[in-house]
Amino acid sequence: MSNKRRFGTLAEPIIEGLIRVCGFSAILFVLGIFFFVFREGSDFLINKLDVKQFLTSIEWYPDSPSNKRYGVLALLAGTASVTVLAMMIAVPFGLGAAIFISEFCSSRLRETFKIVIELLAAIPSVVWGFIGLTVMNPLIIEIFNAPIGLNVLNGGLILALMSVPIIVSIGEDALKAVPDSYREASLALGTTKWQMVYRVLLPAAKNGLLAAALLGVGRGVGETIAVLMATGHAVQIPDSFLDPVRTLTATIAAELGEAPVHSDHYQVLFIIGILLFSITFVVNLVADLVVKGIKGK
């Protein structure tokens, strides 16, 4: 008995130290990654890059034999269009599913749903890409009479399907976190179940629901292989959701293997990495501020 207790007092600080290291390592990794990505691209970024051309030109000719040009506007538009479409589909569906699972369905059905949705999250992104390439492409051509089925719509649908599980599980957690006394009080006042959800639960859980949606956006901006295969990988600003596009992530994935280390092309790809990093940073920061703002009220 006393032996056990002594072990306990010895182990306590060690375990605490280990956990502390785990916590700090997260910060270390993020800083480390940012440092290395920045270092690879810094020379070109500081000395050669025409920032205005980089952000406002659609001419992406990294290996032109006569005149190399690095303009990422079309790639930015590609990432934005696919992400926005995906969120327009995934956020209502995901939050709807979360509300249904948390409030309206029987507990047995709930377990089935959760397992199925977790399975959806376990499908590797390259498999989603294949579905986009082989199943959705002919379907979209047929249904929309489109010239090609690899386009914003295809990528957006695939990405929506990939983000729904995240939105559902985080959204459901947020709703679960609302104390039952709220529900009981509302129902006791004579509201219907839907009035209770709409007037009481959603306002009470909005921070968590917002976080769910924004994590979905993060997934959308960062997803690579599935959109590489489903969007058509064409450098252009889309006129409609039936046009093929190319995203920032897909460009890095497709071209980094070929770019000789430390060449201009290689460095520009790392600058795109910095750009992506900044976009997700801003999204997260805005999310944080919004959530804090709501709390402040």
Partner: protein, 312 residues
Amino acid sequence: MSKTAKLFSLNIIVALSALLLQTGCGKKSESGDTTEKVSIQNQGSDTMVNLAQAWAEAYAEVDPAVSVEVSGGGSGTGIAALINGTVELANSSRKLEESEKAKAQQNTGKEPKEYMVGYDALAVFVHKDNPMEEITIQQLAAIYSADGSVTKWSELGVKNAGCPNDEIIRVSRQNNSGTYHYFREAVLGKGHDFRLGSVDMNGSKDVVELVSKTPCAIGYSGMGYATTDVKMLRVAKKQGDPAYAPSIETTLNQTYPIARPLYMYTLGEPSEHLKKYLDWIHADAGQQIVKESGYVPLPKDGSLESGMPAKE
């Protein structure tokens, strides 16, 4: 309840992956037990990846002590790996550029050595319902080049009924592809760029796959990748010239205008087992596989260096 379910499914996944790993390892050690195995890392051209794989499999029976590990990724990827010294043998469907040679020399201290191992005719594919039968190099350039202006099938005089809005969907390759570089030089001309907005696919097979499902599309890929779902166009040098279908004969007698040699590169003199492998590839057995895989074998009489000229 939900937590146990989660844990349970996690356990299943872990168990399954462990099983996969084990069977994977089991196979390796089984074949490696008998003799010390030498492995050759072979990477590069996506056009050649099927061919390289076929060679590797056949060679495993010729010399069980050597295992050749093949991966694709594109000629540029293979060359970059050669320059960085991470592969012994790079496949490339284009010639190494002088700057790349210099870079390899500077990086590794060895000069890349070139081996011509066969030819590939670059086929131009359209959907099987497309009524088009032949195309000229100028027309191809007008479709693909940044200076060209053809965007509709009707501008080529083609009535493509399967394609409701008449738009030509240009299917191209990502810029790590040797096929992409060859097409740019041979069809668009030196110094010219592709027009932006083409659908850039990752592999030769993906191009054919996409064209077979897209009535509006046109694409290019090695003729070895042809399937029954796509149509190979006959290609003419210019308007009025006879058009030829890609084949072994038209490639070797140089009537088919877009055919190119396929290369393998080593860093400096190859090691003994690598040299044996390359010799075998050049011998009848290896060249027979070139033919079976849908590529064009080296002419019997010609030596390695005196093949068809790479460019005109």
